[in-house]
């Protein structure tokens, strides 16, 4: 099988409201920076382009097509899109390269969530007869998941607050983070509940922004002469959309994806986990069996800023950054989609 490398990754700042900037204006700077990082000039210099976004955020069918304006629509390019987080656009691009249909690909994800009421917008992606019709918001679903864990004694509110505290402190070193600060678990617990049992701190913020990545064969990476990390495994698994039939206190699909991606074949120095709610970081850490020798969410994770449809790709990019900086030899990145960690993707990255 062809070995695939990441050669470039860029993310915008996570901002609570990008104002008048439209999606194209969010994408152009990160795509431009990632071209510069790799030493190429435009989308003509890669063989394939794939993006991830959600038309529901823009509230119009085929809104994602406008994103292509960020690349220049002429001359034609080979281009595709997933109505998912761009981590799945990466997955599609990897398949394209493995099949020999491309040697390099640009992957980008973008989301401008601020104009709408995100938890209600996301309610419309649930079962259309049983849930979407009730307008049950995704924060409430996560709150029920957290209570299941609290009731079973699997976690305490302090455990959740410690996740929030670590996220805010780690984010102090992340210039692109939206929420950061030297905040203790006691500070978090001092807040009253917002959507009980969740406090506002337990919930990721709503953010606008984009991220972009360039991947290629290892041969192409060497030809470009830029530092790279190798993607040694990637897999994704999904659970039923009936939340009542899932064990919401565990993440069996994350564990299955990690096994198939080969996570267990070596030490994990760093793990970036897409946990939009504090208790979900604990579910994921346990499902993956991560111990004290793994640095979890050194970027602050998505509790520090959550770019819908780009944060999954950014988790992979954050691990890439640490490997090329020499801070880690091997790491994993997790991306999620759907309510309460329904669908999960795990990528394993290794130093070249």
């Amino acid at each position: 099988m062809r070995e695939i490398a990441i050669v470039g990754y860029q993310q915008s700042d996570c901002v609570s409201d990008a104002g008048a900037q439209n999606e194209v204006e969010l994408i152009i700077p990160v795509v431009g920076r990632v071209f510069e990082q790799v030493g190429i000039t435009n989308a003509q210099d890669v063989d394939f382009v794939c993006s991830g976004s959600c038309d529901y955020l823009q509230g119009a069918a085929f809104a994602f097509v406008l994103g292509v304006d960020a690349l220049g629509a002429v001359p034609p390019i080979k281009e595709s899109h997933v109505e998912m987080d761009a981590a799945w656009a990466l997955y599609e691009s990897i398949l394209k390269i493995r099949m020999g249909h491309a040697d390099s690909a640009l992957v980008y994800g973008f989301g401008k969530s601020s104009p709408g009421e995100l938890p209600i917008v996301l309610s419309q992606q649930l079962d259309p007869y049983y849930l979407a019709t009730q307008w049950v918001d995704t924060v409430s679903l996560a709150a029920m998941q957290a209570r299941l864990m609290l009731d079973k004694g699997l976690i305490t509110e302090r455990d959740m607050a410690e996740v929030v505290s670590r996220s805010r402190r780690n984010a102090l070193n992340n210039p692109r983070a939206q929420l950061k600060g030297d905040i203790s678990a006691d500070d978090v617990l001092a807040e009253e509940t917002y959507l009980s049992p969740l406090r506002k701190g337990d919930i990721c913020p709503v953010s606008d922004g984009a991220s972009a990545m360039i991947i290629c064969t290892v041969e192409q990476a060497k030809a470009w002469g830029k530092p790279y990390a190798v993607i040694s495994g990637i897999d994704h698994r999904i659970e039923t959309h009936n939340m009542g039939m899932r064990d919401l206190t565990d993440s069996v699909s994350t564990r299955a994806a990690a096994e198939r991606a080969g996570m267990g074949n070596g030490k994990v120095d760093v793990a970036e986990l897409y946990a939009p709610f504090s208790h979900q970081e604990i579910i994921l850490t346990r499902a993956l069996g991560l111990g004290d020798d793994t640095s979890v969410n050194p970027s602050g994770g998505v509790l520090a800023g959550n770019l819908m449809m780009a944060s999954g790709l950014s988790r992979i990019g954050e691990v890439f950054d640490r490997i090329v900086a020499g801070e880690a030899q091997r790491g994993i990145a997790h991306a999620t989609s759907g309510p309460c960690l329904q669908h999960n993707l795990v990528t394993v990255l290794e130093a070249a």
Binding site: Y56, G59, E117, P119, I120, V121, S123, Q124, P128, Y129, Y130, L131, T133, Q134, W135, V136, D137, V139, S140, L141, A143, M144, Q145, R147, L148, D151, T193, Y194, L195, S196, P197, L198, E239, T240, N242, M243, G244, M245
Partner: protein
């Protein structure tokens, strides 16, 4: 330089089409219209409410309907202090996972209560029907504490 007036247009976000709900979802919704709740037996015998068309583990098509009770128990809940405009109440309420009597799998619906401390895991609740039933999940107006 003066700011130009921002163009705006009314737009309703929603499903702009109708479709048949089929023999499983349709049966459930039709029963709701008659103020009755049915579940379906999964491959392993568990009673699933609302019914699913296919078993998520075996992919087997499901067809054995079972009447379930209109009362049940709260498995988990979220207390909504600040209801959103789209929510079923304009005052605080709970979303809950409710296991109906005769069912094995909890369903998600709303629970009316005055205060958070009235709601708890394990609490008994009963369906309150809408004044007019139409064959929607919202024919169950809410669940009320027994």
């Amino acid at each position: 330089m003066s700011q130009p007036e921002v163009l705006h247009q009314e737009f309703e976000l929603g499903f702009t089409y109708t479709r048949s709900t089929g023999p499983v979802v349709g049966r459930f919704l039709t029963e709701l219209k008659q103020r009755n709740i049915v579940g379906i037996k999964a491959s392993d015998g568990r009673v699933v409410v609302p019914p699913m068309e296919y078993d998520p583990d075996t992919a087997e098509a499901l067809s054995e309907f079972v009447d379930v009770g209109q009362e049940g128990e709260i498995v988990s809940f979220a207390w909504v202090k600040e209801p959103r405009e789209a929510h079923p109440f304009d005052k605080p309420f709970a979303w809950a996972m409710i296991r109906l009597d005769g069912a094995d799998v909890p369903m998600i619906h709303c629970v009316a209560a005055e205060r958070e401390d009235q709601v708890s895991t394990g609490a008994r609740v009963r369906a309150r029907w809408a004044d007019e039933t139409k064959g929607f999940i919202t024919d169950i107006r809410c669940f009320e504490l027994v």
